[in-house]
């Protein structure tokens, strides 16, 4: 899968309350959740993010609660990919289960600034930063998780295994 979009840069420990505040957890509709994505963290993101744009963050992205509403909101907002130095483990699982592409790379995060146009090739495991011309390798996805993605998500993966 090939993705392209503009980078939105965030710091370390972006928690799930920042991604989708708990006051909106009385709904599950992706469109409604998307309206409040990153609302307290960056109001500008909410107003200006475009389909295909990417979130680029430091360490421990998605820490805190187990709410799947977080990757759902990000995906429904049109974000094509999250690049971070590391992810909190429940967010990591949820993103795969929801089909939200996430990649880990220290160098890419250090080399990318907000507004940079990026190309991400998930099959090759590469991030290209257009303004700087630099290419970064991302940590490979475990084969087992690639199977989940290839089947179209965890529930589809299970359905396939049970049939």
């Amino acid at each position: 899968m090939k993705l392209k979009g503009k980078a939105w840069k965030f710091g370390p420990n972006i928690d799930t309350d920042a991604i989708i505040p708990a006051r909106y957890l009385n709904v599950t509709d992706p469109e409604e959740l998307a309206q409040h994505c990153m609302e307290d963290e960056s109001p500008r993101f909410g107003r200006e993010v475009k389909d295909g744009d990417m979130i680029v963050a430091e360490t421990n992205f998605g820490c805190g609660s187990s709410r799947e509403h977080a990757p759902i909101a990000i995906k429904a907002k049109g974000v094509s990919c999250v690049i971070a130095k590391s992810f909190a483990r429940i967010f990591y699982r949820n993103a795969f289960n929801m089909g939200l592409p996430i990649v880990e790379s220290d160098e890419a995060v250090d080399g990318i600034q907000g507004g940079h146009e990026l190309d991400v090739d998930l099959d090759k495991g590469e991030i290209r930063n257009r303004p700087t011309g630099k290419t970064y390798k991302v940590s490979p996805i475990p084969a087992f998780m690639q199977e989940i993605i290839d089947d179209g998500g965890l529930m589809e993966h299970i359905a396939r295994r049970r049939s």
Binding site: D15, G64, H69
Partner: protein, 423 residues
């Protein structure tokens, strides 16, 4: 090579003789848990997958506890989804308002989670059950749906960090202070993807309530699970509650640890985590003048009977500051009743506190104590992220129940000693 308690539980549930860190396994779950925030999405996934029944109606547990009693129409709709699903599938363990308590206090109290279990819960504080010597981890809603259908879930075997605590606890220092201090030292991702194994002579003497509090906040260091070795105290807690067999696992002497840390607890004073990270900790003596508008005593972290007793010891004979709202939330109906019978409610009401039925409400800014712009709260809960308890420009400070109670009286963050309470 020997195995840790976490590795042994995972190995047994995966039907393997041994496992090692990094290995991906499919493991059987003893309990699959959801609440009114996470289960609606899981139920939707369950239906979308065309599943007809849950793998075991005794082992799928649903607890509406976050926005319950329903705080608004939208929450009421979410809870209705749980209620109808529980009825349709004949779930044994669905807890309606009245029987409902905060899930991570309720499940151990009811004997639904036992030593040696493997628990997957769609709530990040599912790691609480590690206090019983169970492997217990938070997952998302889709993972919960998968576990509800198959009774299994994939896990990556985590590396384990061993945390050794020794020495005598100071007055007014409890499990909350040990875990806050630990998170302050290793950071909010200090145990990312890993198991935290809590051991040492201090831990051997730590009551179950303190162990629950510590395991509960393992997630705040990024851990997959926190775990304690079951012992006589565990046995005493479980005896009379368990309705099925359970197993005590122990780490081998030659088990491998990715890191070993030790803590002289005699040097640890009551801790306060400043906004906006649980790792932003200071000893109470280093806290300067921080005025507060609200104090919350409760939650899956500190809403147990021991916590309420500690708060009552501090509040007895005192009246809270006229600038502070003190909200006390016993975590389960049983805790509520015991606290009432022991006379704790008289102390709380005399002090000017309000007592709420069990709910997660204010911890995540849901209801029952939401903060306005610019307000500050001290709270015995587990997170102090931006906007956690309400307005994005409000502040949350985390502490143990004694500090939260004393602060309510003082009108600013302070300890029981300032009220002349010597413990």
């Amino acid at each position: 090579m020997g195995m840790t308690i976490t590795e042994k539980i995972l190995a047994d549930h995966a039907g393997r003789k041994e496992v090692s860190p990094g290995q991906l396994i499919n493991a059987k779950v003893d309990i699959a848990l959801g609440n009114d925030i996470t289960a609606p999405i899981a139920i939707e996934q369950f239906k979308r997958a065309g599943a007809k029944r849950v793998f075991d109606k005794e082992k799928v547990v649903l607890v509406p506890d976050h926005f319950v009693p329903n705080k608004d129409i939208k929450s009421a709709e979410q809870c209705k989804i749980l209620r109808e699903f529980a009825r349709e599938h004949g779930l044994t363990h669905y807890f309606e308002v009245g029987e409902m308590g905060i899930e991570h206090a309720l499940l151990p109290e009811k004997g639904l989670v036992l030593p040696g279990d493997l628990v997957a819960g769609a709530d990040s504080h599912t790691c609480t059950y590690g206090a019983l010597g169970a492997f217990s981890a938070g997952v998302g809603s889709t993972d919960l749906a998968a576990a509800m259908v198959t009774g299994e879930l994939w896990f990556k075997v985590p590396e384990t960090i061993k945390l050794i605590y020794y020495g005598q606890l100071r007055t007014w220092v409890s499990g909350k202070d040990l875990i806050l201090y630990t998170i302050g030292r290793i950071g909010v991702d200090g145990a990312l993807y890993k198991a935290m194994e809590f051991v040492g002579e201090t831990i051997d003497h730590l009551p179950m309530s303190g162990r629950f509090t510590m395991a509960n906040m393992a997630i705040e260091a990024g851990a997959k699970n926190g775990i304690f070795h079951p012992d006589r105290m565990t046995e005493q807690y479980v005896k009379g509650r368990a309705k099925r067999d359970y197993h005590f696992y122990t780490s081998d002497a030659n088990a491998h640890y990715s890191e070993i840390l030790d803590f002289d607890v005699s040097k640890i004073e009551p801790q306060v985590a400043f906004p906006h990270l649980p790792s932003n900790t200071r000893g109470i003596s280093e806290v300067e003048e921080v005025f507060i508008d609200q104090s919350v005593i409760g939650s899956c972290t500190n809403g147990r009977l021991d916590d309420l007793r500690e708060a009552a010891r501090v509040l007895k004979g005192h009246r809270i500051s006229s600038n502070v709202r003190l909200i006390i939330i016993p975590a389960t109906p049983m805790i509520f009743r015991k606290a009432m019978k022991e006379g704790l409610f008289d102390i709380f009401l005399d002090a000017g506190a309000v007592i709420s039925p069990p709910t997660c409400g204010p911890c995540l800014g849901g209801y029952m104590g939401v903060l306005a712009k610019g307000e500050r709260a001290i709270s015995t809960t587990n997170r102090n992220f931006v906007g956690r308890m309400g307005h994005p420009e409000s502040d949350v400070y985390l502490s143990n129940p004694a500090i939260a109670a004393a602060s309510a009286v003082l009108g600013r963050i302070g300890g029981p000693e300032e009220l002349g309470k010597r413990g």
